[in-house]
Every structure is written in C-alpha cells, then in structure tokens.
Amino acid sequence: MNQELPSYPPLASFDEISIWKKAFHSRSFVIGATLALVILIAGVTSVFWTPYAIDVLDVSKRLKPMSSEFWFGTDQYGRDIFSMLMVGARTSIIVALIAVGIGMLIGVPLGLLAAAQKGFLEELVMRTNDLIFAFPSLLSAVLITSIFGPGTINAVIAIGIFNIPVFARVARGGALSLSGREFLLAARLSGKSSFLITLEHIIPNIANLLIVQATIQLSLAILSEAGLSYLGLGTQPPMASWGRMLYEAQTMVAFAPQLALYPGFAIIFSVLGFNLLGDGLRDLLDPKMRRRVA
C-alpha cells in the first residue's frame, strides 16, 4: 500500500537529565516558569493568608495610595489591592486548571477514540467538535451564565466546554501521527489490547503535545475568565477576580489609575507566563517545534 517510506515527525528522545539541563538554558522556559510559579504561589498562599481579609470592607480606608501598610494601595471600598490580586490569582488558577482539566479529561479520550475507531464514531466526534467550535466561547458562556446565573463555576464550565474539542483534536492528531508506527504493530503482535496499547504507548507519546497544549489553554482560560468577569458573568464578590477588578476600576482611571493597572498587569503577566512556559516546554519536549519559538 505505502508507496514511500512514510515520514514521521521525530519523536522526542526520552532523556530527562538533558531536558532539565536544557530547561535552564531556555529563556522562554525560565521566564515563563518563574511567572507561572509566582502566580501559583500567590494563589495558593491566598488560601491560608492574605495581608488583609478581602471580604471585610472598610470605607474609611478607601483609595489609599501605595504604602508600607497597603503595598499596592486600597480600592474604593478600602480593600487591600495586594490581597485582592492574590485572591484573583487563586480565582484565575482555579478556573484555568479546572477548565483545562475538563477539556483534557473529556477531550483526550474522545480524540483517542476518534483516532482508533474510523467511520461513524470518528465522524460523530469530529462533528460534535465542529459544533462546539461553532459557539464562540464567550457566546456560550453568556448563554450558560444566563441559565445558571453568573459565577465562577459556570465560567469554568463555559470555558471547559470550549476546551474539549481543542484537546480532542490534539489527541486525535497525535494518535493519528503515531498510527503507522511499527512499535504499535509490535505491541499488537504482543497480544496487547487497543486499550493497553493506548495506555502504554500512545498516551505517553502524545503527552508532550498535550502538556504544551494545556499550557496554551491555561493562558487562554485565564484570558477568558478575565473577559467573563469583566462582563460581570464570571466570579462574583466577595471573591476577587482580575477581570472584575479591572471593570470596577475603569471609571476611576483618572484619579486612581493603580486600580486598573495592577489587575491588568496581573492578567498580562500570568498569560505571558503560561504562554512562555508553553513555548519553553514545546522547545524542550518537541524537537520539531524547536525553531518556531522566538
């Protein structure tokens, strides 16, 4: 059947020590990982400790400038902006992780199934993908929140649904690119079931692709959450969200620009962080993509 020797994308060599060594020389990876780590630490810490409680409002302390007391100043209700940013990091990370988790947990098996079962099932999965893709994420988020009300959970669902086809596609594409590989034939000759082969050979070999995609989706999810909260459809008070902080600060730009600047920078840094991390990982894990990275 095959006229030519099929050309495969080179598989990553599996050499953990050299990957870590390379990691510290990759600018993208180091910057990205640092930013992501900072955001992550801020978010995790906020569960146990913030400089001030963000659900106790004290109007007498409102709109204070930066000081040793309030590192980033206070907002119009006298809340500590630094604390708000920390809680906002938590919100962003939770939303992003869960949304990407939903996408992966549902999308990857679907994609693998579509790759394994040609014909009707594949067609069904791919059409469903198209269908989900056809609903721009924000539009479905607006619809979902109008049914269930605005809130973090519904934002997570809306963003997560949009992630499903993304991961289904990546998983299917990755699995298909492996489909002619001789080691899969060898595994079948060893009497292994499709399920076992998927588990032992396919998933580990597309894991890199999935990890890279996941970091990209994480940053997209953070952006989407910010957008939804900006529209008032995402996280609700007393929880803090960067998008919401930005929205509330907008009319006060002239006399309290810090209110709009900090959450804006927080969004940019975290998205930048995850994007760079994704680039760095792709750089390290997927040699074919190496030259794409700036």
């Binding site: 106790v56 409002l57 007498s60 409102r62 609700q236 907008q250 009319t251 006060m252």
Partner: protein, 503 residues
C-alpha cells in the same frame, strides 16, 4: 540581503496605516457651530408612545419635545399652560374649560383641534386602554368639544389636581391618524419632530419648522443609550456626549466637578433605597433580628463607599424632601455591638447564613458587597447572588423566594405598599393597615401628614427593611450647554429652551 525591500514594504504599510489614521482622526471634533445636542440616557425606551407605556425612558425622549399635553410641568414642578393657553374651572369645580392654542400643527401637517383632545383623553380612559397611568383620568366623566379651540372636561368629583394630571407624559395629545403608529413613528405637536431610531444606539429628533410656539435654538438632538457606566463616563469625558441627565457612575461625579468643562447638578429623586428583608423567612421573622441588622449596617459608609457620597440617609420609607418626612435616622445608629446583642437575644448568638439577591443597578451591586461585609461582622454570612431584572422580578418580587435584596423604590409616595398583602417583603401589620385606611379617607393636609409620620414610625420600629438612603440624581453636562433642567419633577428632558452659550 533583501532587507531593504522588505523593510521599505513594511514602512509603506506603516505609512499607509498612519495616513488612514490621520485621515480618520482629522475631522473628529472639528469646530462647527453647535446647534445640536447629544444627550446620554441609561435605558433605551421600548417604544415611543408616551400614552402606552410606563417606562420613564419614553418620557425622557418625547415628553415636551415631541408630544405635548394641554398643560405641562415646569422645571420647578409648577403646572404651566401648553397646548391649552388657559383654563377656567367652573364654580362647582366639576368642569374644566380649556382654551387651546391656535395654529398648532402635528408633525405630519394635520392641524390640531379640540377633536384631538377629546380623542386622546377618551382613548386614554377607554376600557381596553393600555395607558400606564389610568388613575390620572379616573375623575373625568366626559370630554366635550365646544368649538375647535375650546374643550370642556367634566368630572365626577371635584379635583384640584386635573391640570397637574393632564401635564403628565401619559396625558399628551395625539392625532387619531397616527395614534396607532406612535410607538415607532411618534407624531406630536412639540418643537421637535422624530427623525430616526437606531435601535440599541440612539434616537434623533430635529427642530419642527412649523412649530406653533417659539422656535427652539437647537436644530437637532440625539438621545444615546449607554447603560454601561464605564462607557458613559468615557463618552462624557471625551466630549462625545454633551449632557447626561441621570449619570449612573457616582464615583465619576467628582471628576466632572473638578473639570471646568462640565457642569454637575445633583438633585433628589423619589428613590428610597432599601435592604429589603423577607419578613416571613427563617430568622428574619424575628423583629429583633431585623433590628439587629438595621444596627449592623453602616449607612453612611454605604453612601460613601457605594455612591461616593451621593445620597441622603433615610430612616424610613419616605422621601426626605417631602414635608411629611419623619426623620428617623437616629433610630438605628451603626452599632455592631448592639446588633450582636440583639441577635443573641433573638437566639442567634452565632449568626446565620442567608442569600442576598442583587439586581443589576450599581447601587445594588456595590451596596451588596458592603452590606455583606457589615453583616459578616455580626456573624451573618451572606451569599451574594447577582440576578438580572427578569430573574429579580420572578424570583424576588413575584415568588418572594429570597432572604435579602437591595432595591430602590422610585414611585413617589409609595409607603402604602407596606399595607399590601403578599407584597414581596411579606410585612403584615394590622396597626399599619389601620393607619393607611385612615389616611385614605382623610382630606385635611395636616392630619394626613400626621398619619404619614406615624406610618413611617411604625415600619421603622418594626424594622421591616433596612432603610439605606435616598438615591441622588446626578446630571452632568457641558458647561456651555444652558437651559437643561437641574431637577426633574417629572421624567423628561425638555430641550426647547436649551442652547449653546458660546454660539
């Protein structure tokens, strides 16, 4: 190697983009003789027939601009002649005779006459009428055309209010020819005629050249609908809008006040803003709990925090500018310790949790956060649930499925709602009902005021709701715009006297 050509290509592109930008930006804001006004509004009217809808937004566009009544309300709230030059009241006070202006034309060219008055008033009073304010016409028994310039209105009972009632936007005179199409193509007798409605964006009106009265100075005006406070602020501060009579972002008012380009007018409204409590739900059944909550809310901080100081504290459900107002702000001073004590006495030493459903307006959403924070201090854990108006109406107002909500009651003199059965806060007091019944049959003004004051006392002592503040009306306009109303005794934006000072 081919850097140059690529670079030059890019430079060309950048240059082109810059040119386009320059061309597009150049003409904006060029100094033209200003004879037009663009005015911002928060809500877009559902349609433009002032006689067929309750929405204030309708009146804010058409009242006195497109449609006119026999009488009108002046900027100070007084009743002034409009389509009626003058009127006499019969001895018994049962008949009003209106003398109409001459030479009045509808915008479609049809001459105005007493027949139109009869048509309009009969239409509004009719059985199947969709007029939102039918009680205005309740006293009228008949409308009689005397001659084309004179009309008699007969009453069933003497009423001193008829001239005032007929000044409402709901009582404007329409032509029988166009009555059915006024919703989308309003045709009236006012100084401006309707031009165009771009849904979701703006309504344009322009000067009606055959207007019977003094020609307005403005040639054109547009009403733009911007519900988002951020966008409204940007539009105003950038000069895209010339005026915004009910500005929705109080935090921005300071900026306008500090800017000499703008003039700011702060007025009052009929909007009592309350933290409504469902009086039949759980701990809220207990008057002590409600009183505790009344003590726990720091109202001044609320006004400062949520409304940036715009708003008057009230202690009851009554407009403070009304002579019958009973100042009860001292009844529940901010006192968390006392609140805790009351709560413990009521059997909730550790507080409880409840939900707070918040409709979309800024005062509710912002106030909600502050109140949640206040109540947390006495152990009451509020879960904030933001709802849209549609949900608020069905869940809170109709099904009374809520614990707390924040809303502003904008109807004037509406303390009577506390006497209603099954009203959404489920207050049931025989004492209060008795007061209102008595009030309804009392004619003497002084006696009425006394009863009203008592009524206020009752609901405040029962702590039916937490009375937060009276909503302020903040208007912003370009300092060169003259002639806009500072107060609004009735919904409307009368543009007939508006002009640009520098022209």
């Amino acid at each position: 190697m081919h850097a140059k050509s690529l670079k030059s290509r890019l430079l060309c592109l950048a240059g082109g983009a810059a040119l386009v930008l320059a061309a597009l930006t150049g003409a904006h804001g060029s100094a033209e003789a200003k004879s037009s006004l663009s005015l911002g509004m928060v809500l877009e009217p559902p349609h433009l027939d002032a006689t067929a809808g309750a929405a204030a937004a309708i009146d804010e566009v058409v009242y006195q601009n497109v449609f006119q009544g026999l009488t009108r309300i002046g900027p100070d709230g007084s009743v002034l002649p409009s389509l009626a030059k003058s009127w006499d009241v019969s001895e018994d006070g049962m008949t009003y005779r209106f003398h109409l202006q001459t030479g009045v034309l509808f915008h479609d060219g049809t001459p105005f006459s007493a027949d139109d008055v009869k048509f309009s008033l009969d239409r509004a009073r009719a059985e199947g009428s969709v007029n939102a304010q039918k009680p205005l016409f309740a006293a009228i028994s008949d409308v009689v055309v005397v001659d084309p310039q004179t009309v008699n209105i007969k009453l069933t009972t003497p009423s001193g209010n008829l001239a005032y009632n007929l000044a409402w936007g709901d009582a404007v005179i329409v032509s029988p020819k166009t009555a059915e199409t006024n919703k989308t193509q309003p045709v009236g007798t006012g100084p401006f005629k309707f031009d165009r409605w771009m849904k979701g964006q703006e309504i344009r009106i322009s000067r009606f050249d055959q207007y019977w009265g003094d020609q307005p100075k403005l040639e054109k005006a547009s009403f733009r609908f911007i519900s988002d406070p951020n966008a409204a602020f940007a539009a105003m501060i950038s000069g895209d809008l010339d005026a915004f009579p009910t500005f929705s972002a109080p935090e921005t008012i300071i900026q306008f006040q500090a800017d000499p380009r703008f003039e700011v007018a702060i007025g009052t409204t009929e909007g009592e803003t309350i933290l409504a409590m469902n009086n039949t739900r759980g701990p809220l059944k207990n008057k002590l709990v409600r009183q505790a909550i009344s003590h726990a809310v720091n109202k001044q901080a609320l006004i400062d925090g949520a409304m940036f100081g715009l708003g008057t504290p009230i202690g009851t459900h009554f407009a403070p500018h009304h002579p019958a107002y009973n100042d009860l702000t001292g009844l529940y001073p901010y006192d968390p310790a006392k609140a805790k004590e009351l709560l413990a006495k009521a059997g909730y030493p550790d507080g409880f949790s409840a939900t707070l459903k918040l409709p979309p307006p800024t005062y509710a959403r912002r106030g909600g956060e502050l109140i949640a924070s206040d109540l947390k201090k006495i152990g009451i854990d509020l879960k904030i649930v933001p709802v849209e108006w549609a949900q608020w109406l069905s869940e809170v107002f109709k099904e009374t499925n809520y614990d707390f909500t924040i809303v502003s009651h904008v109807e004037p003199m509406d303390i009577g709602i506390y006497a209603r059965d099954k009203y959404y806060f489920n207050y049931n007091s025989d004492a209060f009902k008795k007061l209102i019944e008595e009030l309804n049959v009392t004619v003497d003004e002084e006696k009425r005021y006394e009863l009203l004051k008592q009524a206020q006392q009752v609901i405040s002592e029962d702590a039916v709701n937490v009375y937060l503040f009276q909503l302020a009306k903040s208007a912003v306009w370009n300092a060169n715009v003259k002639g806009l109303w500072r107060n609004s005794p009735t919904p409307g934006n009368d543009l007939s006297q508006v002009y640009w000072a520098n022209n």
